[in-house]
Amino acid sequence: MRKLLAIWAVKILSIVGKLIGRKSSNAPGVVALKICPDIIRKCSKDIKKGTIVVSGTNGKTTTNNMIYAELKSLGFQVICNKLGANMIGGIATTLCQEANILGRIHADYACFEIDEASTVKIFDQLTPQVMVITNLFRDQLDRYGEIDITMQKLKTALKKAPKIKLVLNGDDPLTASFGTLENVEATYYGISEKVLPQINEVKEGQFCQQCGKPLKFEYYHYSQLGNYHCPSCGAKRPKIDYEVKNVDLRKGMNFTINEKPIHIDYKGFYNIYNVVASYGACCAMGIDTENFAESFKGYKPQIGRMEQFEFNKPVILNLSKNPAGFNQSIQTVLQDRRKKDIIITINDNYNDGTDVSWLWDVDFAKLNDGTMNTLTCTGLRLYDIALRFKYEDIHVDEISADVKDAVRKSLNTDSDVVYLLVTYSALYATQKLLKELKKEWEENLCKR
């Protein structure tokens, strides 16, 4: 009975939320958990074939949605927290919304992205067959604490799921170390050739997880991802089960996974990791990956992941929320050789992390490569980001709290493209504003 009440509560709260224009996917689930504390266990029992979860600092949403796209393309019924509500409330909300009014769920598979810190609580109720861990970077120290704490939490969670199959990023010494735990079965994915120029950034995991001595890297892809070994104890990058090679970043991205060619139409080197992680997850789950390359044709990048808006020139919105993510964002922007205006929005709300110290771990100097036309700093921490540029000797053209005005201005410059790099809490607001501006722009076009 409690289960039904919890499900109805979520359904009603979701409708009310929509009516008053508040799209919280976490809050209804929190209420459901109060009514029925084991609602996740009760609902997830109905999932017929299996559950895959994705955790790690960056790439959770994209990887999880790619797994979803693959499963859907094979004709399965799939439950997924697509919009990224990844704490315990979000998982409860997703399951309750999928249940019918009699409390039954009809689904073959579930794929959930899960916040690293929430895995311990969620694994009390949910028993996934497969878990992907994408990477571990420094992120929101005020909320998560140090990386060591996050790793400890993941280890505690894994003890609660003894038969789980881990799919791990073998290029990340921190993530790969989960494969050496007792009672886990792990496979690894990785990119087995040097692709990008080596950049100067703060790197985690420079010390061997087994013996504590410094690691040696043959090359880096970015941050601490690369090919490494420990000269002291002999630990090294594991044998890669899902191996990317033949990377070509010129037209979209082309590469091979275990020699099968893959083409994707969007940018961002890190997306190669997301693709191969989702491939590995499907293999570990025993899903047929024969037509894996095909299933991507229908996949659309999520909100604010290199999302493009067409005006008189393209305006591209990209989430950039921690040093590793921001450095990748900058790399992707730099691969576009057109003359560009860049607008950066830095907020310090709870979802962003209230501490913006991380801005100093981003290699912003790289932006100054001669293709930048104007640079604008906005957001609640506009002065912090402007100062960051000042101490890099990069000229900031405008410091303004008004993002809309900043976009309008850049539409009128002689640049060819505009990039908006924003932190998490600014993402939806910026997307909304771009849609409004687009409408405004189209109306003006008609008037002429």
């Binding site: 420094r138 501490d355 110290s357 100093w360 100062l387």
Partner: protein, 240 residues
Amino acid sequence: MQEITILHLFPDLLNLYGDTGNIACLKKRLEWRGYQVKVVRCTVEDNQMDLTHTDIVFIGGGSDREQKIVCSKLLEKKKELTEYVENDGVVLAVCGAYQLLGKYYKLDDETIEGLSILDITTERGETRLIGNVIAQSPLFEQPIVGFENHGGRTIINNHEPLAKIIKGYGNTGDTGYEGVHYKNVFATYIHGPLLPKNPQFCDEILSCALRRKDPNFKGLEKLDDSLENQANEAIIKRFG
């Protein structure tokens, strides 16, 4: 022109969050005034430092695990560092490094021995003290603004605090004071890029180093700090 040497101790281990902002700030504010600056990194691996040719030592924050690794390395340098400080050498120690300058840092199940350069002791509290900080130092007019995130509670005994807390937790969360100022040592829990938003604090540190190097030092040339001051004031307006 004079050359100033900044020694960054163990940047490969103690670099928790944006510590490089402090190095960048010290360096740029000297260069903008025409000084030559050399930044020397003493990493865990090469473990070489020469304090006789050092004008400013910077030590940043690390996780508890990293602090344990660093501690033994640091203790090898105890004598040298103590002499440097007693000879008015300039040190900026942030967060974890602040704790390690003291006698010990007591964790739940073990005690990390510190350098005992400062007569202070630290114990881990039950909660972490996290948030924006505003504090007033007697050394300069502009309030210090920044962010703290620490589990340790530090008792500073007879030392002078660096500043009086206006907003935030500080050394223990209830004494109302933040950090320690001893001779030319500036030690604080305000972590990461502390100096860019606190140009007067940065210049105070630079002045100490230049005065020590040159008895005829006449003071620092003024810079255009309007952006730095705006950033400082914005924090006070929002959180003060």
